[in-house]
Symmetry: C2
Subunit: 190 residues, 2 copies
């Protein structure tokens, strides 16, 4: 996605070999028009995959995902990050480790909003170690439903998540793929 590459190069801050900050258009300030265009790309790629619902993870995945859901005319479900386990039978939960924040949370999905016939597209803002995406996959599969694909805004291709999810057989489609980061420098995959 050319205009996303351009924004990453112009506004992204490579703070280290692992950290890319895109606070000016995705993670704090949000460019709504760009989110809509991301939605168009996700729609064009996934529209013939018989998707029934789109899942995202709160909170930076919500903006591009709701734009995708509108254009695909599908419901969105936001997987919640809870601090602690909910001890009743109404939800699916799985523990996810956040490397960014160095903490665990319980990714949570109400059983009301999934059934075994669902064919789920998962969309998130970043894919790095794959912990969050893999947590979403576990929730979908625990419900007996199918993961139709994984849409990512920015993939850090040099971290383990992208290859791991592809090796597991998932269709991962990323709008921008970062080959390498170093302080002040950002390189995309060919």
């Amino acid at each position: 996605m050319k205009c996303l590459h351009k924004r990453i190069l112009e506004e992204g801050q490579a703070l280290s070999e692992n950290v890319l900050k895109v606070d000016s258009f995705l993670n704090h300030q949000v460019d709504a028009q760009l989110m809509y265009e991301m939605g168009t790309y996700f729609k064009n790629y996934f529209e013939n995959h018989n998707i029934t619902k789109i899942f995202t993870i709160e909170s930076s995945g919500i903006a591009p995902t709701v734009m995708t859901a509108m254009q695909m005319n599908l419901p969105m479900v936001t997987l919640k990050k809870q601090g602690s386990k909910i001890l009743n039978g109404d939800v699916y939960q799985t523990t996810v480790h956040s490397y960014t924040k160095d903490m665990n949370y319980e990714l949570t999905l109400s059983k009301k909003y999934i059934n075994k016939d669902d064919n789920i597209l998962i969309i998130d803002d970043f894919l790095a170690n794959g912990e969050a995406s893999l947590g979403a996959v576990r929730l979908v599969e625990e419900a007996g439903a199918t993961v139709a694909g994984i849409g990512i805004v920015i993939e850090k291709s040099f971290q383990k998540g992208p290859q791991m999810l592809k090796d597991m057989g998932y269709d991962v489609y990323s709008l921008a793929r970062i080959a390498k980061l170093s302080k002040g420098n950002i390189e995309f995959m060919e």
Copy 2:
């Protein structure tokens, strides 16, 4: 907003005199088309208020706000809920008490995304005691900027927040105004 009233009556769950659950279209599963229509209402009401940016509070405010930002062609900023104070000079922070979760959080705004000439529209999903909206107002005013108005999806008019914000002189525009809740019963304002 008629179609929102209809959805609240059909799908909302009044769990007590204070709690209305709208998990099927706003707070967990999200109806993207409905979010777009909310954006149209907010745009129609606020379009001549010289607004420069739209702020929301993570995470349930994001979906209707990004749809508003797109239609008004304005940037959105998501105010983050941090667990603890960030001890550097790059952010504005204020402590907000959540009655729903019975906990405090630090509402956080990077100084990069506001300046004293900004005229800010604040949008959130619910207005009840007004703690979150008032926190957003404090951040805007601490930056020397102006609050142009407050857009709310569902206002619980019988709680203290709506009147308090109006008494302080803010222009509060709510898409649905709940007069009374009781277990299994929802009444709107006239």
